[in-house]
Every structure is written in structure tokens, then in C-alpha cells.
Symmetry: C2
Subunit: 394 residues, 2 copies
């Protein structure tokens, strides 16, 4: 009696549950310290202390009706103003509070903007490998997801592939940099080329193609690499941001959309996005969290911990002969499976108590994702397991 | 370039904005103290102090990675357990944590369960007058909203109307008691009859019809009136609850769904609802709020303040000859307009600086909603305006 659309999800969720149960069973059988779970993208670094301090200060000092009450669906005006000012200072943009809509995390923001934009049958392009929830978000509004095959081995977006996939029905392109699952940061050169293709295709088809930049990993970039701010390169860019990773608050569901003035059909998009926030049932982003992040815009999660893990694991895997995309951001390594079938490779890894995610879950077979947002001790303990995995394919 | 479905919403939102702007203009022109805004259902009573205390204690005592981190999409297990136990104690039910899914407010919960249940074209019945957002929530999943005309003058659900409206395509019936906008509480007798009609129609059509009980106002009942717990009367009941009014936390977006074991297709609904929570972009209800409400299940908002307002305004309006549904719950009075056209009546009221909501916004013309979640001082100041409004129709 559930909706037909939901049946496949329920099947998928029972697979996930089975995996989770098996992980627990393994931990019981072999000891939790002998199971190496690299499957989850859950921040291992604690939120900056300033976040809890800000929450407590707000609870102590501000009027409860204001702290916990309704506000404009787009969010507290002074919060949006602070975010706009912070972006302007960092990226030389010229946003005001009206360009910012607070959202229930980046996932909420993506759903809001897709609801705003998509008519049934509209096409949305993403570059494989990509976060497979995009398929579901686009499916929520009867859009059609169009994957562009991966650019192997550097995993910058495949721009000739993009050019081929754009049609009269293309409404949006989603990019995610720093990237989940590859850890790759899109170069400025790539962004410029991508923008010029989109400009050209907008001309050709006579309508806007929106670039949706999903940026939960923006602050997680290493080796001083720059993550270009996309609204500066392409006018029809809409940014979805999240504090889940930047302040380690994934359970609090707090993020925002940036809808710049320059965006085609700006006022309608802005109005429709506020309405979408309401009618999708979010109503508004959680109030206390809005107020707290606004006081922590200068705060940063301790990325040196992720950076340490990144080098530790990357160096080890490369020394063992694994091929790995250059990891400049996020907290993932993207590693070539040692056999064609990535799912079989994941099963082989599990024999050595290594829990990895097959690349086919990101629309890109033949690879696996290793999430290094874990303790460095676990990484070190896992080395012998990776050695055995490498040996198994020698 | 926005989605066609969104165009009418954007028009609607500009009407709302115009009203809001006009309200501000009136306050400027006549002084804020001389404008009587009865249009918003925003709690006027502060949250119990225990809520902020609980939040601060959790922030001080619990591990930040736990407080702000991801958990199961359905919510923290110990939170769901406490809620189940609290319900069992209050209502003699037998829920466990697996029957509870934490949601981003009741609006989030309704969207989750409608996504779970509705195939395009499935019909959902609601009793006029009802919260018009139901139309939008059902529309999100291409369901068809079927209103049952109001039962005048007592505004208990129109059960003969219900019987006529149920078809082979009826998937769900939404009820809301205590009711927005009428303030009416559905009697146990009504609930029993409603249940037996649904039982009979399930037999007739050979499939489940789900009763969705939207309960943001459950704790706001006066004069010792009982609000029956619907899962005890009809097996296929799913409850959507919110702490927005019971703890005055509307901006924090925290509530839950109850999906009892007895519900037809229980396991699939449970799994699908968890998935829906994720893919709609909520992911999970805000974590700190989950933990805080679990420590405040015995807390109650100070309903005596609403009760005082209720009597104050009800007595005055009745003395002026207004006809009003018996207000036993929520924080609304539902008053017959003094002319057929409720929108014209609302315009007339505005001449006296009274801001009311026309009943046609709740699918029930000829009435207006007066939200008395305001200060008693404003109510007293408004008396002369109501007198003038009554005089205008003499």
C-alpha cells in the first residue's frame, strides 16, 4: 500500500540495513578495534567550541520567543545579512540578505531549488561520480537525471561529455567541488570552460541553464588549493551551502542557498524558493541553529586533522600500488578497484575487515570511496588489512 | 523559467507580502498599539524555562559529536523510546521506539507520510474548514485533495459528507483536532463513527484507508475536555505531532510521526517513511532539538494564558452578537462573517484596524479565523474596534 515510487527505495534501505547489521556483527565477532569502517561521511572532528558557546549565549541573552519562534520562511534577516557580508568579504561578491535563503542543510536546499525550477521531464546533468542522492532529489520533482561519464583518471568534470549531454530540456547542471566521492577540487580553468559551454548552450537553446553548486565541502581544501566561487564565473549560478562539515553540525540541518541578483528570472526564483521551503514542510531552517552559525562564520573546523589522515592513508595506499585520484579536498579518497567489478572488490576488502563503498553507488563502477573522517589510530590499525588486500591481487 | 507548478504559489506569495506590507504601513500610520493583528498562529506564550535549561545541560554534558552529529534518519533511538513511553503512559498505548520517527515539525511529518503513501491521482480527504497547506502537501506528490463540506454550525467533521466522498482512490483522510481554524475538539462519539465508516469503506474497497491525525494542538484543550488518541479507535491511524505549540518551539522544527504496529503494511510504511525523511532533504530532525524535547515531555506550555484570552474574546464577541463555534482547543475563534462574502467582511474589519483571516483561505467561505495567541492587552484594546465592526452591520 505504499507509493509505487517508494518500493525500490524500501528494497535499497533493506540492503543498507543488512550492511549495517553485518558491520555490527563483524564488530562483535572480531572486536570493534579490528573492523575498519571507512564507509561513512560523518565528520570525525568536533565542532569548534565557539558553536556551543554561541548557542548557550543566545539561550541566555535573547528573548525565547525570538530564539525559538517563527520567522520569515527564508530565515532570520540579520543571519542572512551576516552570511551575505561574510561571503562578500571572502569572495568579493555583492550579496545582501535577500540573496540568502536559510535551509535545512544542503539536502534541504537542493530540494528547495529543484522544486523551484523543475517541470516534469526537465533534465538535470551531473558529472559521474556523484552523490547518488541527487538522483532521488531530482526524482522527487519528476526531473530526469542525466549523468556525464567520468573523466578518468583526473576526475575533473568531463566537459566534452557535458557538451554532448545538454539538450533543449536541460534545466540545470549540478556540480560538487570539493567533490564527494573523489576528493578532487575543480580547477579555475575547468570552471571557466564549463561556464563558457553553458553560455554557448544557453544561446543555442534560448533559455537559462542553471548551475547548481553543492558546496558542503567548500571549507575542506588542503595544500592551500583555491576553491573558486562559482557565481563569479557564471551568472546563472545558485549555491547550496551546508554547515554540516564546516562546523561539524550534520545532525542540526543547517545551511543556505545563495540566489544572486544576476540569475535569470531572479525575483520569481527567490519567491518560489521561499514558498518551496514552506510547502515542502521545512517551513524554515531551525531557528537556534541559524542564530548560532551567524555568530560562528569566522570559525573553522580543524581541517588539519583531516589533512593528517589524508596524507597518512594516501601515502600508504600509493605505496601499496593503489591508484588514487589527487585528493585536494573533502574527506574522501577515490581508489581504483583492483578488479573490474567494484562490488566484488568491496567484498574482498571486507574479508580483511575493511568497509568501503563501491563506486557504482556513485554512478562510476571500477572504483571505491574511502572516507577518512575517522581516527588516525584506526587508519594506522587498518594498514595491515590494506596490505593483505593488495597482496590478494598480486 | 520557474516550474509551472510554482507560478500560482508565487502569485499567492505576493498577495501575502502585500498584506504584510499593508499591516506594517497601518502600524506606522495609526501606531502599532492601534492595529489589532489576529491573523497569525504564532504562540504568544514563551517556551517553558526547562527547554532552554535542557539545551544548555545537553551542550555542557554530552559529547558534541553526539549532540550535533548524524544519527539514524528516524532520529535518536533513546529520544524515540522516551516519546513512546510517554505516549504509553498518557494514552494506554503500547508503542516502542520503532513506532516513532522524528520529523522536522508536523509539516515535515505530513510530507514524509504523504510521500510514503501517495501515488499520483490518489485521493486525500479533509474536512472543511482545514489548514490550506494540506492542499500543497498533497499536491507535492500529485495526490488529489478532496474537501468534505463543513458541518455548520458545530463544525464537528461532516460524516455523511465523508461517506459520500470516499472512492476506490481514497488513500487517506486527514483530521486535525483540536482544530485549526475552528478551535473545535472532535468528540469521542464522532471519532467512533468516523472509524466505523472507514472500517466499512475499507471492507467495501478491499484496501486500507489511512487516517492521518495532524496534532500540533493536542495539548491546547480547555475546560478539561478530552482529546481522544486516535490510534486506539482506528487501526490504520498515523499520528503527526509537533512541539511547535506544546512547547512554543515553532521555529525549531521538531515533531514526530507515530506509525503503530497495527497499521496495514506496517514494515514497508516504516521503511519508506525513513527513506522519505532522507530523500525529501530533511535527512533527520534537528539533533539538539530532539535531545531537548525528550527531556521536556512532562513540560507544558502555560495554556492558562491562552484560556484567559479565549474567554475574554469569546465572551465579548458573543455579547456583540457574533456567532462563534464552541472553542474548546487550539488558539483560534471561528466566527461567522456578518455578510456572505467573508473577504468583504475582512476588509470591513480592517477599516477598524482588525486583521482577521477569511474562512475561504480554509476552504470554508462565510467565516473568519481570529487567532487569540496575542497579548490580553491587545485583546482588550481591540474591543472598541469589534464594537464598531458589529455596529457597521446593524
Amino acid at each position: 500500500m505504499i507509493a509505487k515510487k517508494m518500493v525500490k527505495y524500501v528494497e535499497g534501505s533493506s540492503v543498507t540495513r543488512a550492511m549495517f547489521e553485518e558491520g555490527k556483527k563483524m564488530a562483535k565477532e572480531f572486536g570493534a578495534e579490528n573492523v575498519y569502517d571507512f564507509s561513512l561521511g560523518n565528520p570525525s572532528v568536533e565542532p569548534p567550541k565557539a558553536v556551543a558557546e554561541a548557542m548557550k549565549r543566545i539561550l541566555d541573552e535573547k528573548e525565547p520567543g525570538f530564539v525559538h519562534g517563527y520567522m520569515n520562511n527564508a530565515g532570520h534577516e540579520e543571519v542572512r545579512k551576516k552570511i551575505a557580508e561574510s561571503l562578500n568579504e571572502r569572495f568579493g561578491t555583492a550579496f545582501t540578505e535577500k540573496n540568502i535563503i536559510m535551509t535545512v542543510g544542503a539536502a534541504g536546499g537542493l530540494n528547495v531549488i529543484l522544486k523551484t525550477l523543475l517541470d516534469p521531464g526537465d533534465e538535470v546533468i551531473a558529472f559521474a561520480p556523484y552523490f547518488s542522492e541527487y538522483n532521488n532529489y531530482v526524482g522527487n520533482f519528476d526531473g530526469v537525471m542525466v549523468p556525464v561519464p567520468a573523466n578518468i583518471p583526473d576526475f575533473q568534470p568531463n566537459l566534452s561529455g557535458l557538451r554532448e549531454k545538454i539538450t533543449a530540456k536541460t534545466k540545470a547542471v549540478i556540480v560538487n567541488t570539493p567533490n564527494n566521492p573523489t576528493g578532487v577540487v575543480y580547477s579555475e580553468e575547468t570552471i571557466k570552460e564549463l561556464s563558457s559551454i553553458l553560455e554557448e548552450k544557453q544561446q543555442e537553446y534560448g533559455h537559462a541553464i542553471y548551475l547548481i553548486s553543492d558546496e558542503p565541502y567548500r571549507e575542506l581544501a588542503y595544500d592551500g588549493v583555491e576553491v573558486p566561487y562559482l557565481t563569479k564565473y557564471f551568472a546563472n549560478t545558485i549555491v547550496g551551502y551546508s554547515f554540516s562539515k564546516s562546523l561539524s553540525l550534520p545532525g542540526e540541518r543547517i545551511g543556505y542557498l545563495v540566489i544572486p541578483d544576476e540569475v535569470d528570472d531572479f525575483q520569481n526564483i527567490l519567491d518560489a524558493a521561499s514558498v518551496a521551503t514552506r510547502i515542502l514542510g521545512f517551513v524554515n531552517a531551525p531557528s537556534l541553529q541559524q542564530l548560532a552559525v551567524a555568530e560562528c562564520l569566522e570559525e573553522k573546523t580543524d581541517i588539519s586533522a583531516y589533512d593528517y589522515n589524508r596524507k597518512l592513508l594516501y601515502d600508504k595506499l600509493v605505496s601499496l600500488g593503489f591508484e588514487c585520484a589527487k585528493p585536494e579536498g573533502a574527506f574522501y579518497l577515490w581508489v581504483k578497484a583492483k578488479e573490474e567489478d567494484d562490488k566484488a572488490f568491496v567484498l574482498k576488502a571486507k574479508e580483511f575487515h575493511l568497509l568501503l563503498v563501491p563506486g557504482s553507488a556513485f554512478m562510476c563502477a571500477g572504483y571505491v570511496r574511502i572516507a577518512y573522517c575517522v581516527s588516525p589510530e584506526m587508519i594506522k590499525r587498518s594498514f595491515s588489512a590494506f596490505e593483505k588486500l593488495a597482496d590478494a591481487y598480486r
